[in-house]
């Protein structure tokens, strides 16, 4: 297995804007990059049956999830001409308005970054065993299901 496998995807709680800034800053030495596409998933305060979502509690089958992230990553490097790629996903509690997914794709030209980023996000939604409990203000909850 390649070194890429060791990249840790899961982070505890929300992904901070500062973490994103630090990731961006690290790419200034990679001067063959011309385009970055960054996707951020943010927890919505959806209203479900009259109750407002306060937070999502994420859990995962972590071993399988890390393998799926690895497969998604390797497939993207084969399919697109990328300089680098980073994926981070929250585990545990993320409040509405906070960021739970950070996909960061960099390439020389914009087409690869755009195509790859979108493809990666779609594959994460479909293939990675992550589960989300949408918790309402009154501490009741429903289990979230990706549909979009």
């Amino acid at each position: 297995m390649s070194d890429k496998k060791k990249h840790k995807v899961f982070v505890n709680g929300a992904i901070s804007p500062q973490f994103i800034a630090d990731s961006i800053a690290k790419h200034s030495t990679k001067t063959s990059i011309g385009a970055h596409d960054i996707f951020l998933g943010q927890v919505r305060n959806d209203i479900i049956n009259g109750k407002t979502v306060n937070s999502i509690e994420y859990s995962a089958y972590e071993e399988m999830a890390e393998e799926k992230f690895h497969e998604i990553r390797e497939a993207a490097f084969v399919k697109y001409n990328l300089t680098c790629m980073h994926i981070y996903h929250s585990i545990g509690s993320v409040k509405a308005g906070e960021i739970c997914l950070f996909v960061f794709v960099s390439s020389s030209h914009r087409k690869d970054a755009f195509d790859a980023c979108r493809d990666i996000v779609e594959r994460i939604k479909i293939n990675v065993p992550i589960f989300g409990k949408e918790i309402f203000e009154d501490d009741s909850f429903v289990w979230k299901e990706n549909t979009e």
Partner: protein, 77 residues
């Protein structure tokens, strides 16, 4: 022969546990039937079965010590 079964998300609530062991099942279909008898509440839930970190579509044979995961709908992103 014993197979480990692990539950995730809503299925933990439904089963009342996050893992169990199932004896005397030789393939995924028979495992699934047995689980639905032991935890009838799971009949109300959608789930996939995963073995060796891959979703199982065919009726794969099981071996001693295998771990089978029951996965409710994904919500990543």
């Amino acid at each position: 022969m014993t197979v480990n079964v692990i539950f995730f998300g809503a299925l933990i609530d439904a089963a009342g546990t996050n893992k169990t062991e199932v004896k005397n099942v030789s393939d995924c279909d028979s495992l699934k039937s047995k689980i639905l008898v032991d935890y009838p509440e799971l009949n109300n839930y959608k789930f996939l079965i995963a073995l060796h970190n891959q979703v199982v579509k065919d009726n794969l044979k099981l071996n001693e010590g295998d771990t089978v995961a029951l996965l409710p709908p994904f919500a990543g992103g």
